[in-house]
């Protein structure tokens, strides 16, 4: 599904260059549940955001579903991103002035899904995540766990083949974290490829592959 070859990211600092990622080469097959771990500053989130196409300032090769992202135009990249990727943030990043229902609907509207179809899909996701009763609430009216639940629901509403999660349980207590990880396991079991960045060994054990980064290098896979 994903193939990275000598992916690198750096920025100029003074007379030299500071590398955030060095010669990252890896493959991810469909259905894998990958955890990326490492100390702070290792480049984990940077790698995740590159995979999610949020960051375009890198060099090397990146293929997604055999499409050479590195040589695509921005418009084509975004089309692929919309089609295949869902993203879960540590701080949920729900839209504060939209209800739960509307937060779920937003990604569909950006994919030009017709309104009636959007209603149907959102209703289905609300039911699937058991948050129908909260559909008219605003994020500020939800607990952290509930907000992240909505964050995950929003990530899957467009039925992506790949979910990228950046410390999805970082702001949650253990019960809520467990709940979210169970959800990820279920999604993975249903066929969704998941790549998560995590500090938690417990969370990493939910997956079937751990990649360790240090100072921008892959030190263990």
């Amino acid at each position: 599904m994903i193939a990275l070859r000598n992916l690198e990211k750096s920025f100029k600092s003074g007379a030299g260059e500071t590398f955030v990622l060095r010669r990252i080469t890896l493959d991810v097959t469909p259905g894998e549940f990958v955890s990326i771990m490492g100390p702070s500053g290792a480049g984990k989130s940077t790698l995740l955001h590159i995979l999610g196409m949020h960051d375009t300032d890198w060099r090397g090769e990146y293929e997604l579903h055999n499409q050479p992202i590195h040589s695509l135009k921005q418009k084509d990249r975004m089309a692929l991103q919309k089609k295949h990727i869902g993203f879960v943030f540590q701080s949920y990043h729900l839209l504060d002035n939209l209800t739960v229902y509307e937060n779920l609907e937003v990604p569909l509207s950006y994919r030009d899904v017709p309104r009636t179809q959007r209603q149907s899909i959102v209703a289905d996701v609300l039911d699937r995540f058991q948050i129908v009763g909260k559909k008219d609430l605003y994020p500020s009216q939800l607990s952290g766990g509930q907000q992240q639940l909505v964050g995950v629901a929003r990530a899957v509403v467009a039925n992506p083949s790949l979910i990228l999660a950046d410390e999805p349980t970082g702001n949650l207590h253990s019960d809520q974290a467990r709940e979210i990880m169970e959800l990820f396991k279920k999604l993975n079991h249903d066929g969704t490829t998941i790549i998560q960045v995590t500090h938690s060994e417990t969370n990493a054990q939910c997956g079937n592959r751990i990649i360790k980064l240090r100072d921008g290098w892959i030190v263990n896979d």
Binding site: S40, G41, K44, S45, T46, H49, G52, H54, D55, M78, Q81, K82, F87, F89, Q90, S91, H93, L94, L95, D96, N97, V106, P107, Y110, R111, Y138, P139, S140, R154, A158, D166, E167, G170, V197
Partner: protein, 816 residues
């Protein structure tokens, strides 16, 4: 005290840390304070401050009202009285005194080179009616204008300084005015003005001018030359005095049917008569500047909201470290106070400059403009208003944010509804600013459209390369018509012989200077009421007048050299005269009469019809008759020479002075000017109003757009995270632009709808200031809306582009 100083220091540091925002706030404050103070000072000086006379509320202007004539609008106010009528009205018991004044340029000779001075011949009670005393010597005594009393003069301080070097022995000295000896009895302050600047006050004969070539003037009821001002007796109201004078007017109508039938009398308070025509203009400008103050205040309010919002975390931390709410409030007040002080100081400087500019730009003749000065009370008011705004809008959100839980502020998680409310407040303020700016833009647009129509009006003559200069011949020396005619003929000959001169003419009044009004009789015309005269404008001209001024001869012929004292009496009329008195007929060959009915030269034959001209660009042409100056036996001693040439005006002036002095070495020439300058002067008030209103509208637009930019920048910055999330969820740049820009567009469109509606309602009050433009002129409204939309949307778009250029998705990075 230490705490206060530290708050002050910290406040100053914070202001300096964000120089652009601080400068914007200070500039907004300064413009609001400065503009309002300057304009209100003008309104105060011109409209509100009482006249500088004791008990000015008892001073009234007494004017004659012309009789209704067929096809004209109802009775007009504001005309001078005839001398005979004035002497009758003096018997009124409603007044402590009725004083007369008649101004005219007069020649001063002796004590230096001849000089044309603006003289006013007044009644003996003139200064006592006004309540004015002398600076040196004395003023006239009421009884001194009795028949046979020696001629006396009171000199203005300006003339005393200019011509006599403030010599104290001027008092009691005899000077020569229009070749007549006159004893100077006193000097009055330069500020004593009446219908303009007066250099010299001359005692009249019972209030009727002595220095005149019109014989038996005290019995004359046909020539209206006296401006009359009265001081009501205590306890007598204007309606009561009006009633008494109406009775006298009716009696005069019965006793003198030939001249007085249908003539009435009108009283107006002196102050409103003096400034009435400027009232609407000043009030419009005051409204404009008040709206500008409102916009400036809203700008400051928004800036304070933004600043305080950005400091929510700092305030929360200070609170966590032990600061009491009172202490935090004091700190915010210090900062707001500093802004208000800086804005106030700059505002006062702007106000002083604004007042000087107003006086400098104001057209000549605007009453009381020389009295405008900064009004301290009003400056304090302006500072107070904007300080209140600065402090209030800085304090209010700060108080709200003090109620936020500290951890929420630390983690950046303030209540979403609080942030939402704040954004809505800011956008509402921006919308209100833009709506107000829209109103001002419409007003300025209407004035500009009106002024454009005005300057495009065809005056009916060609002012290009046409210069004018005036002479006022002394009555005593030029009583004989032949002497006047000879004088003008000699001057015209010499001017025509000047190399480079294309054409020369003489006229009683130059174009764009109102001719005299007088009654006229149409021979054979059935009259609606016995003894009821018609009226017309009248001037005597030389044979090349129509050529020199480029007026179109439409029918018949113009004036020729052969139209002299021994030729048949002829006259040329304009189209307006023909339309009014000979509708559907050819006036050539018809006869009209004016002057003394028993005069052999009373009836004149119309020999030509000439195209209409306008006395003021915004007015319709009036019925006018042009008579040959060689056939003028009436004692009109003022004249203008018109010279058509491409020579510099200085050369024309020299030639004119030489030509005049060759005939009379003691005769000065005055008011040398291009005729185009007179034309510009007739629309000077409109130009001034349009200029000032446009400036205010421009400043208001800049303030509103700057405010829009500032708020939208802040709003967009505040939505960076949201924008990042949306882009991470698949939104394209176009989606983001549509989202954010759409919000701005809704704000702008709401502002335009409200602004245009308000403008349409308020514009009706501007009708009197507009020329051939409807207050709800669709093209002006549309243009004003387009200007606002384009500038406001551009101001909103820039922040959006900036955020997109910085990759908002990067803001979602929670860990490195």
């Amino acid at each position: 005290m230490t705490g206060l100083l530290s708050d002050l220091r910290f406040g100053a540091r914070l202001l300096l840390k964000s120089p652009v925002t601080t400068a914007a706030a200070i500039l907004s404050l300064a413009l609001g304070i400065g503009g309002t103070t300057a304009m209100f000072s003008a309104v105060d000086a011109v409209l509100l401050r009482p006249l500088p006379y004791p008990e000015p509320e008892r001073l009234v202007m007494v004017s004659a009202t012309a009789p209704m004539t067929r096809g004209t609008s109802p009775t007009r106010r504001g005309g001078d009285l005839s001398p005979g009528d004035y002497l009758d009205y003096r018997s009124s018991s409603s007044f402590e005194g009725l004083a007369s004044i008649s101004t005219a340029p007069m020649r001063l000779t002796g004590d230096g080179s001849p000089e044309q001075a603006q003289a006013a011949q007044v009644s003996g009670n003139f200064f006592s009616v006004l309540g004015v005393g002398a600076l040196a010597g004395r003023t006239f005594l009421p009884a001194e204008d009795a028949p046979g009393h020696p001629a006396l003069a009171v000199v203005s301080e300006t003339l005393w300084q200019r011509r006599y070097a403030r010599s104290p022995d001027l008092i009691g000295r005899t000077i020569r005015v229009s070749d007549q000896p006159v004893e100077v009895v006193g000097v009055v302050a330069a500020g004593v003005r009446f219908e303009g600047t007066v250099d010299l006050w001359l005692l009249g004969d019972r209030g009727v001018p002595r220095l005149t070539s019109i014989p038996n003037l005290t019995q004359n009821r046909d020539v209206h030359i006296l401006t009359v001002v009265g001081r009501l007796r205590r306890g007598v109201s204007i309606p009561e005095a009006q009633a008494e004078l109406d009775v006298i007017a009716a009696r005069l109508g019965r006793e003198y049917p030939a001249t007085n039938t249908g003539w009435g009398i009108a009283l107006d308070p002196r102050q409103s008569a003096l400034v009435g025509h400027t009232r609407r203009m000043l009030l419009l400008l005051l409204a404009a500047v008040a709206l500008m103050l409102l916009i400036a205040s809203v700008n400051v309010a928004n800036l304070m909201l933004v600043r305080t919002q950005a400091r929510a975390l700092e305030l929360a931390m200070r609170s966590a470290l032990g600061a009491s709410p009172a202490r935090l409030i004091r700190q915010i007040l210090m900062e707001g106070g500093l802004l208000a002080i800086c804005g106030g100081l700059v505002g006062l400087v702007l106000a002083a400059w604004g007042v000087q500019s107003l006086v400098r730009l104001a057209p000549e003749g605007l009453p009381r403009f020389e009295e405008i000065a900064i009004n301290g009370r009003l400056a304090a008011f302006g500072v107070a208003v904007t300080a209140f705004v600065a402090l209030g809008f800085g304090l209010w959100p700060a108080l709200r944010s003090l109620r936020e839980p500290l951890n929420a502020a630390v983690q950046g998680r303030v209540r979403s509804t609080a942030g939402h409310d704040r954004r809505r407040s800011q956008l509402l303020l921006v919308s209100s600013q833009l709506a107000i700016a829209q109103v001002l833009l419409v007003a300025a647009g209407l004035l500009i459209a009106s002024f454009d129509r005005l300057v495009s009006v065809d005056p009916g003559f060609d002012a290009r390369e046409l210069d004018a200069m005036d002479v006022s011949l002394p009555a005593a020396k030029y009583r004989d018509p032949a002497a006047r005619i000879r004088f003008h003929e000699e001057v015209l000959q010499r001017l025509e012989a000047t190399p480079g001169v294309k054409s020369v003419a003489m006229a009683m009044r130059a174009p764009m200077t109102p001719p005299i009004s007088r009654g006229v009789w149409i021979e054979g015309r059935p009259e609606s009421a016995p003894g009821q005269p018609q009226t017309m404008r009248f001037l005597t001209v030389s044979e090349h007048y129509f050529d020199a001024t480029g007026m179109r001869m439409l029918r018949g012929r113009g004036i020729t050299r052969d139209d002299g004292l021994r030729s048949p009496d002829v006259v040329v009329v304009n189209e307006a005269f023909a339309r009014r008195y000979f509708p559907g007929q050819d006036p050539i060959g018809k006869r009209i009469g004016y002057g003394a009915r028993n005069d052999d030269h009373y009836w004149r034959t119309i020999v030509g019809v000439v195209g209409d001209t306008r006395e003021q660009l915004g007015e319709s042409p009036r019925a006018t008759a042009y008579a040959p100056f060689r056939q003028s036996l009436e004692p009109w001693n003022f004249a203008s020479y018109l010279v058509k040439s491409s020579l510099p005006i200085g050369i024309i002036g020299d030639a004119g002075r030489q030509a005049v002095m060759a005939s009379d070495p003691d005769q000065p020439v005055s008011r040398l000017r291009p005729v185009a300058a007179d034309m510009r002067a007739t629309i000077a008030t409109q130009r001034f109003t349009t200029l000032i209103a446009t400036m205010f509208a421009g400043v208001a637009l800049v303030l509103a757009v700057v405010g829009t930019f500032g708020v939208m920048s802040h709003v967009v910055r505040g939505r960076t995270r949201e924008i990042g999330v949306r882009m991470a969820l698949g939104a394209t740049r176009r989606n983001i632009v549509t989202l954010v820009f759409g919000e701005a567009a809704r704000v702008v469109i709401a502002a335009i709808v409200v602004g245009l509606s308000a403008a349409a309602m308020l514009a009706a009050s501007m009708q009197a200031l507009l020329y051939e433009v409807q207050p709800r002129d669709p093209s002006t409204l549309a243009l004003a809306a387009v200007v606002l939309i384009s500038t406001a949307l551009a101001a909103s778009y820039v922040p959006v582009r900036r955020v997109l250029a910085q990759n908002p998705v990067a803001s979602l990075r929670d860990t490195a």
